[in-house]
């Protein structure tokens, strides 16, 4: 989309089935337009997201990774998203040690009814990644 520049970057999204994947569906049903860079992987729960997945994606060609789960306390699996939060927060702090700007990784909570919020999140995150530019040709990768 013109908003984020002509060339697409590679963004991977891990979405929990019950809330955020549903939120992305809701955005679709409501035709909330979004940039096209994101590729979505469905997981049962944000607690299923192994930080290793994120690191692998970033090291192997992704320019940004987005993880989205249910709102805290609204997890389909009681408190899977609490485990997710703890792990992903750790991961965010670790990324700079791998030479990766931590702004390339974002985690958030979006419920199945929040189509508009999903649109906003995708648009903002895509803009942010475009601002940072491609990961693998820039300075970060050489470091």
């Amino acid at each position: 989309m013109s908003e984020v520049g002509p060339k697409e970057l590679r963004i991977v999204g891990f979405l929990c089935n019950w809330c955020s994947y549903g939120g992305a569906d809701t955005a679709g049903v409501s035709r909330f337009k979004q940039p096209t860079d994101l590729r979505i992987i469905r997981v049962p729960c944000s607690g299923r997201v192994d930080p290793l997945f994120v690191v692998k994606a970033l090291l192997n060609g992704a320019d940004g990774v987005l993880v989205s789960g249910c709102h805290p306390r609204d997890c389909h699996y009681s408190d899977g998203n609490f485990y997710a939060r703890r792990r992903l927060e750790m991961l965010k702090r670790l990324l700079p040690f791998l030479g990766i700007d931590d702004k390339r990784f974002h985690y958030t909570w979006i419920s199945a009814s929040e189509g508009q919020r999903w649109q906003q999140t995708v648009t903002d995150f895509t803009k942010q990644i475009h601002k940072l530019g491609p990961l693998h040709s820039g300075k970060e990768a050489q470091q």
Partner: protein, 653 residues
């Protein structure tokens, strides 16, 4: 491995912004893909036949369907491939509609996105393993939460269908909001006259066990086998002894208790039976107002009670019930009056809510059906109704319509004229929403036959002037400011989620929207189901609803429960965690993190300690898999290999 890829046009829904033929052509080049095609409507019968035939013809062993969201049709296509002889878990769906064709404008970008998304699905399906469900026994009892009209309908239908029902009601009597109404629109029949018999049925039904003045404490388990803890709140009256004679209420000296049933229109006694038709008809003490509790002495009710039922020492009691399904009919709430400082809400006694007015109209209400102003008990001659008090008001965070206010205002305007023939009603409205059967005719009657003056515009403020309330509004049809000097103002306050709705949802693991209303599984096709199997919705807990719609949903939820319980055994979801006992080191970190207590310690013959999953308890979240330091516990269908295959399909350096 021979993967078949079926790309759906979904009419023009997908094909309009994704080049599906090009996508199919691209997919044919992918190693492992033996067949790829595009089809107008893959979910249609011929569409499904095409898949079945292709499986046989092309000897396919894994299938990818690129179409709508798997939340929509995954089950459909699983059945399709199963019929063609494949294990149902050899299916993957690529969501190219909700996530691609509907949200991207650029066809080229969409097509590339679709191709890559389908490639990810192909990568995953090649890692898939066949999974087999086991079956388990179910407990054919049902829990109904909420004893309003929706909950009672669900309970009665389930009970009549032969199921044992546990009905939990938060307040001391069943009946809910409907029990408070005077008449119902558009027929003006008496609310309690049609509801009362249902309430009695609930009390007398041999299949229904009623817990009144009780709340859900905790819920454990899964579809077919729930364990529910119910808090029976202390009433300080032994209900096994109480006969509902009402002597205590008559003699109680604490006359200024807040009357929850009447929304504070008039005070009640500290020990009370909420209303004459209450079910169960038992007394209850409000310790916030009872002198025995506030001052430490009184004891009048204990002395007077003929059966010795009063017990000031009573404590809350927790009971446990086992059920197999749950119907949530926990109702709605109303926005607080103090949200309307410009209307003097809460400050001016003669500015009241619609439900309070309902109690003033009601023959068994505190004024015995005489409409009087709360301030001076005089009869109002000019009554102003303000619709959308909070509804459709983004500044108050309520953008939605409250559904039934337009109708009850018309009803109240009609009843006002009936009660006080020389009265004049004014209704400030923005739009009249009356789409039900006989509804619009009813709002016309209020104007044509009962002379209610409808003013198209919002009210900006209300201020007192002498004994009158000056209502300042606009008539946008005239393009002027208008003022009405009213005796009584009735605000149609916005419908909100019931207090505590979010906490209950969290106990049930069901979703709720931004406003606290529960989210149905599909807005059109699964209106009473939730995403948690075994939990169903009825009534205004899902969104503002009038009586016919609530009753309809109550019956619908009951039908769903009866269908679920028509089998003796349920099939379990095989997408659960599995332990590789060879690589497990027995650290049991998984056991600590499992939200469901589904992991046990197990000693192998050689004395080695490993983790072991109780398959029926595991809900399949995969938290254990991400926790395990050696990858020994894997969530089936979402294993590390499967998810990494998807990552690798798009991230290749």
């Amino acid at each position: 491995m021979r993967v078949g890829v079926f790309i759906c046009h979904c009419g023009s829904n997908i094909a309009g912004t994704v080049d599906v033929a090009r996508a199919a052509a691209e997919l044919r080049k992918v190693p492992g893909v033996a067949f790829a095609t595009n089809y107008m409507y893959t979910c249609s019968e011929p569409g499904q036949d095409e898949i079945k035939q292709a499986i046989k013809r092309e000897n396919l062993d894994r299938i990818v369907v690129a179409a709508c969201s798997p939340r929509m049709h995954e089950l459909t296509f699983r059945r399709t491939i199963e019929k063609a002889g494949l294990n149902r878990y050899f299916l993957e769906m690529a969501n190219i509609r909700e996530h691609i064709s509907w949200v991207g404008l650029d066809k080229e970008a969409n097509t590339i996105k679709a191709i890559e998304t389908i490639k990810m699905a192909v990568a995953k399906v090649m890692q898939n393993k066949p999974l087999y469900s086991s079956s388990f026994k179910i407990n054919k009892r049902v829990l109904v939460i909420g004893g309003g009209v929706a909950g009672m309908q669900a309970a009665l239908d389930c009970g009549d269908g032969g199921l044992e029902v546990v009905l939990v009601e938060k307040s001391p009597s069943v009946g809910g909001m409907m029990a408070r109404l005077d008449k119902t629109f558009p027929t003006i029949d008496c609310s309690i006259c049609i509801l009362g018999p249902k309430m009695v049925d609930v009390a007398q039904h041999d299949k229904i066990k009623l817990y009144a003045y009780s709340e859900i404490e905790d819920i454990k388990g899964y579809v077919g086998n729930y364990e529910v803890k119910i808090r029976k709140k202390a009433t300080y009256v032994d209900w096994t002894k109480c006969t509902g004679c009402g002597l205590c209420m008559e003699k109680c000296p604490s006359k200024n208790s807040y009357d929850y049933f009447n929304f504070g229109v008039a005070p009640t006694k500290a020990i009370n039976i909420p209303f004459p038709q209450a079910i169960p008809k038992k007394a209850k003490i409000d310790p916030d107002f009872c002198r025995q509790f506030t001052k430490g002495k009184c004891g009048v009710c204990a002395k007077i009670c003929p059966t010795g039922a009063i017990n000031y020492e009573m404590q809350d009691e927790i009971v446990t019930e086992e059920v197999g399904a749950i119907v949530v009919a926990s109702g709605y709430g109303l926005i607080d009056m103090d949200k309307f400082p410009e209307y003097g809400g809460g400050r001016y006694p003669d500015v009241i809510t619609g439900i309070q007015y309902e109690r003033l109209l009601n023959a068994s209400g505190p004024t015995e059906g005489h409409i009087v102003r709360p301030s001076d008990h005089t009869e109002p001659k000019t009554v102003v109704f303000v619709s959308c008090a909070g509804s459709r008001d983004k500044s108050l965070g309520i953008p939605y319509c409250s559904n039934f206010c337009c109708m009850y205002i018309a009803k109240q305007a009609i009843l006002t004229k009936d009660h006080i023939p020389d009265s004049q009603s004014y209704v400030f409205y923005m739009d009249i929403r009356s789409p039900g059967k006989g509804y619009d005719e009813f709002t016309r009657r209020a104007q044509e036959d009962y002379g209610a003056k409808y003013v198209r515009g919002r009210v900006s403020r209300i201020y007192p002037k002498g004994k009158k309330l000056v209502v300042v509004g606009a008539d946008t049809l005239l393009g002027t400011q208008v003022e009405v000097e009213a005796d009584l103002v009735v605000l149609a306050t916005a419908v909100t989620a019931a207090p505590g709705a979010a906490q209950l949802a969290e106990k049930l693991h069901i979703s709720y929207d931004t406003f606290g209303f529960y989210v149905e599984s599909h807005p059109k096709l699964r209106p009473v189901e939730t995403n948690t199997s075994g939990v169903f919705l009825a009534g205004a807990a899902q969104g503002p609803k009038d009586i016919p719609a609530s009753v309809g949903q109550g019956s619908a939820a009951a039908a769903k429960v009866l269908a679920l319980f028509s089998k003796d055994m349920l099939e379990s979801d095989p997408a659960v965690a599995k332990v590789n006992e060879n690589t497990c080191v027995g650290c049991l970190k998984c056991k600590l993190t499992c939200p469901f207590g589904a992991i046990q310690e197990k000693e192998l013959r050689g004395g080695k300690i490993v983790a072991s999953v109780i398959e029926t308890v595991c809900a399949g979240c995969g938290v254990c898999t991400s926790t395990c330091p050696c990858g020994a516990i894997q969530l089936s269908h979402f294993t590390d290999n499967q998810l990494l295959a998807e990552v690798n399909a798009i991230c290749q350096k």
